[in-house]
């Protein structure tokens, strides 16, 4: 069980980095997630569920006031840079696509991220976020479409962000 959790640490760090621009905040969120997981360890579940369970914990922590605040106050402001929503850009090294994602409604962002980064199945995402698979699908579709419109209206030369 513990080794399953350990194996999820790199994926959890990836997900947290997509939610919080500052690495220290992202890792603090991972730590909070792991501590919460250790507290709930007694509520045994099958190994196959571990990933969905951990991402679920991280998601529910990330939408609480404390972690939302870290997102909005994080990072030095990039001069003149304004994200599509009109809010100041969080910090320079944050790739464009993540900044765009941050403009999506919370659940759409979570679904698009979980499916994209970690290859979670739609059923796993449904368990992680505690929503029906049908809702996962419609959130995925609307999230992806919204992202596509964002990149289009900004008239980027190509869809791939320059790293």
């Amino acid at each position: 069980m513990l080794s399953r959790i350990e194996a999820c640490v790199p994926p959890l760090r990836r997900y947290a980095s997509a939610l919080l621009p500052r690495q220290q905040d992202a890792d603090a969120l991972v730590q909070a997630t792991l501590l919460r997981a250790l507290d709930q360890l007694h509520a045994q579940r099958g190994d196959a569920e571990v990933r969905a369970w951990l991402f679920g914990i991280m998601h529910s922590l990330s939408v609480t006031r404390v972690w939302r605040a870290r997102r909005s106050t994080a990072g030095p402001l990039e001069k003149g840079a304004v994200s599509p929503s009109g809010e100041p850009e969080e910090s320079q090294p944050w790739p464009e696509i993540l900044a765009d994602l941050n403009c999506l409604p919370e659940r759409e962002r979570a679904v698009v991220l979980l499916v994209s980064i970690e290859d979670l199945t739609y059923a796993e995402v449904s368990r992680a976020l505690g929503i029906p698979v049908g809702t996962v699908m419609s959130l995925l579709a609307s999230g992806r479409e919204r992202l596509r419109q964002m990149t289009r209206t900004e008239a980027r030369p190509c869809l791939r962000s320059v790293k």
Partner: protein, 257 residues
Amino acid sequence: MRAEGRPITEEELHAYVDGFLDTERRAAVDHYLRRSPEIAQRASSYSAQRDDIRDALAHRGVEPIPASLDLHRLIEARLARRPRWWRIAATVLLAFALGGGGGWYFGSSTPTGLDTLVQDAAASYVVYTADERRPVELWAAERADLSRWLSNRLKRPVSPPDLSGLGYELLGGRLVATGPGPAALFMYENGRGTRLTLFVRPMPVGRTTPIEDVDTGDLDGCAWIDKGLGYAVIAAEPYSRLEALSERVRQQAHSLD
């Protein structure tokens, strides 16, 4: 959307992008997209998004995992602040959960006494930092006396480290009575009037442990053991700051030897 046979659904378009379709449906969607450039463009845009997101975060998956996210360390820190019976129960439970690979865990979770140290340190913090007029018994001006007195009582050389580089000036210190024996309490204050305590007590086992984050309900702190002395730093500061302060204390204790 329609290919031969079953129509292609929007859901399948996404499952196609995410690689969840079986060969047959995948071929059907491929076929359909070849004839519907507009939808094909949308699908490729979704795929590009997916790739962009993965690329943007890929480096985080290969970076070394920091100590703060080491599961074994987190377990120790978590257990250190529970009552002893709970810790033993949890150790047993975890050993079962771990099955055969659990050897490391038993080895590293021998009770260190750090939990009682942290509880005593927290109690001293609450009682003494709240005292406006006489938080300490000997003030910083009598630093040499303070060190001599506490070293005699603890039967180990102890002296208040210099934390001024991190904004904390020594107020003074006192002897504290605890169950396992006498302990030393040094108190510091920063420019904003925030008080910090460093609690030191000889430990029954002469082992050395890494600095770990602890909390005792309302209070946050760091604790560790160094050459048989247990240390706890408590202050209303974020963990990153507490760790830096603890690191400074540890370095100076080493330079005493």
